[in-house]
Amino acid sequence: MNILVIRMHRFGDILQVTPMLQGLKQKFPDGSISFLTGSDMTDLISCNPDVDEVFSIPEKEHRWFLKNRPEQYSRIYNELYDFLSELRQRNFQLIINRQYEFGGLVAWLLGAKEIRGGAFSPERGFVFTDDASKELFETVRTERSRNSRNLVDWGCRIAGVPLGCGEMLFRVPGAARSEAQDLLSRGGAKDDNPLVAVQMGAARSFRQWGTENYARVIEWLIRERDRRVVLLGSEDERGLAEATVRCLGSEDDVINLTGKTDFKTLGGVLERCQYLITGDTGTMHMAASVGTPVLALFYGTAYPWETGPYGTGHLVLYADEPCSPCLTPEECPCGHRCLKAITPRHVCAAFDIAESMRGENIQFPAWPDEAVRLFVTRRRSGSDQLLIPVNNCDDREEGLLPLPARTAAHRPGGDDMESAMRAFSNQRDLLVRRFCLGDRPSFIGAFSELVDRLHAAVRCLDGSRHHEETLARELMPTIEEVYTAFQSEDFVTVLDIVQYRLAPVMEGLIRKRRSHGTI
């Protein structure tokens, strides 16, 4: 069975597809699973053990050009035409579309025998052809508040794989783990520091809880619970982090990593943290995907039964207003009461409950407020995920308690150094390919990535402490030379150095370490 799964953007949504991928692999062990996504999302899927091949389209960039530089239309048209023509030759038998109309069109252009999750035809337009997709559409359209099924479980139904067949999964590459450790160490984290991550931002302003609220929780974690707090977020969210630090009055106990992580290092940082406190964000799904328990705050449009963290043992605070989940948060007549209902007091109490659930002597403190509900998630094989009110939670329920440790699925496969070297080699191949396709901007991007991977590989070779020494001694003269060539746009020399000098030096370093028994 030759299968293609389509999901182009939103990193949380892409991670929510990963349990379905495991289900597909179990159902078709000899089949091949390909994944089509946006170019900026490939890192989320490239390390997934259930995916055989990743294809990408620079969809975000295309959209920007189509809106701002319409003269690029012909280039984009031809690129898509050529790309899809090539993909069509793969003869996919089953396409699982998780990208609605766009995915439906792509699936139709590729001409698969069976399309699930929304298809397109010139006569009928965009239509749902499978029962699960029809049911999901009807449920969300007519009675969303009655939906008790997580989108992950909907995805499994749509794909026709058993419910609860897999976990959210992002496998952190060894090099990214080292890099994450470096970031945390530079921020002052010690090996034995218990860390709690906080993601303050959210894609939309009405989903942001507020820096003052977060600052109060962070201060409590530091002063009362002896934790170090890691601030996470994108480049755009630096302002939120700075405002929070101002509220705290000092940044000594906070490690501010906003704008410093990519998907892989974000996974590495979260893996190192005991918990993540967040709204309904992509980072929430990343924490669930690396096995880190989440304390998730849900209000406004976010509906925990639909998009809550998937897996067993995550805690969800939900402001259960009669109007929620709402469809028009921008015009809220209640003054965003749901956002204000959840207070720092609730989050601190939830944290203590989570701590209690991690211990051997489990106790459930009384939950203070009926207006805000607290649930714990439970994933079950063969059925939909449950949200269990914490007061009704029973520690006799098999598989619920204690909170989950990371499972085997979340552990990296193979040797860290090997994976770092493989990443370097793959990037070298990509650089050559970009050169051959004459794509100057992509070549430049691929070169920057290659240098990052080179550093990561050396870091793995020597351990993070000595990697800079090794770089300086063994590789720096060559790296300086390649940089000079790159700045002159002497791309031929860049490739010559990368292929015929850097790669052999790297291989030599590995041989040397192996013979010294350090690997």
């Binding site: 189509l66 048209y77 898509l80 023509s85 396709l437 031929v492 010559d496």
Partner: protein, 221 residues
Amino acid sequence: MAADMLLDDSHRATMLKFHGKNGDVADLIEGIAPDGSLEPVGTDSGSLAVRRNMEGGIYRYIHSRVDPHREAGIWADCQLVQNATAVILGCGLGYHVLEFLKRHKHIKQVYLVEADESLFQMALDILDISEVVDDCNVQLSIGRDVDLFKRTLFDSIDGPFTYHIFLPATSLYPEYYASVIGILDEHLLAMRLTAGRDNDCGTDNLFAAGVEKLIDVMKST
């Protein structure tokens, strides 16, 4: 080294063929003085490469200093050739053109575009590209006259094509090649969409219209 080669028999034979094929361009090439900024250099494999010396001591190599033939083979293998017509942008010394023709024998028509007359002159000197020059299926567009290129293209290409960029050569004249690529993209788009509208059935036209719709969806997202 290049000056010596100008005199050899193989070069004379190539020029003769070139005159027979496109006398105007052959005259132009023969009439220009060798460009001092183009410097032939030896490579580890024994073949010759070339580099362009630029202002401020900067230079750019056009072919690998290790093995230009191998580099050209990798380039040619990477090209996705879907139609019987191909346009190659950037000739350099021609290694990759030879490899391309060798690997994609089903191609019926090739347009070879080189913005730099001096570089093409050097290609005739250094490498035996007489089979390229002699091949009646290969058309040459040498120099940087955008209008001439456009006219030639519209006159001669009447079916879908692919174009293939040799970055080291095209990056020496980014503006010219950007214009050429723009023309090629528009021409190709028009061909694909026309094919889609002229006929009500068939896979290709539906496919072309489907891609158009896909772009509409992207625009409205």
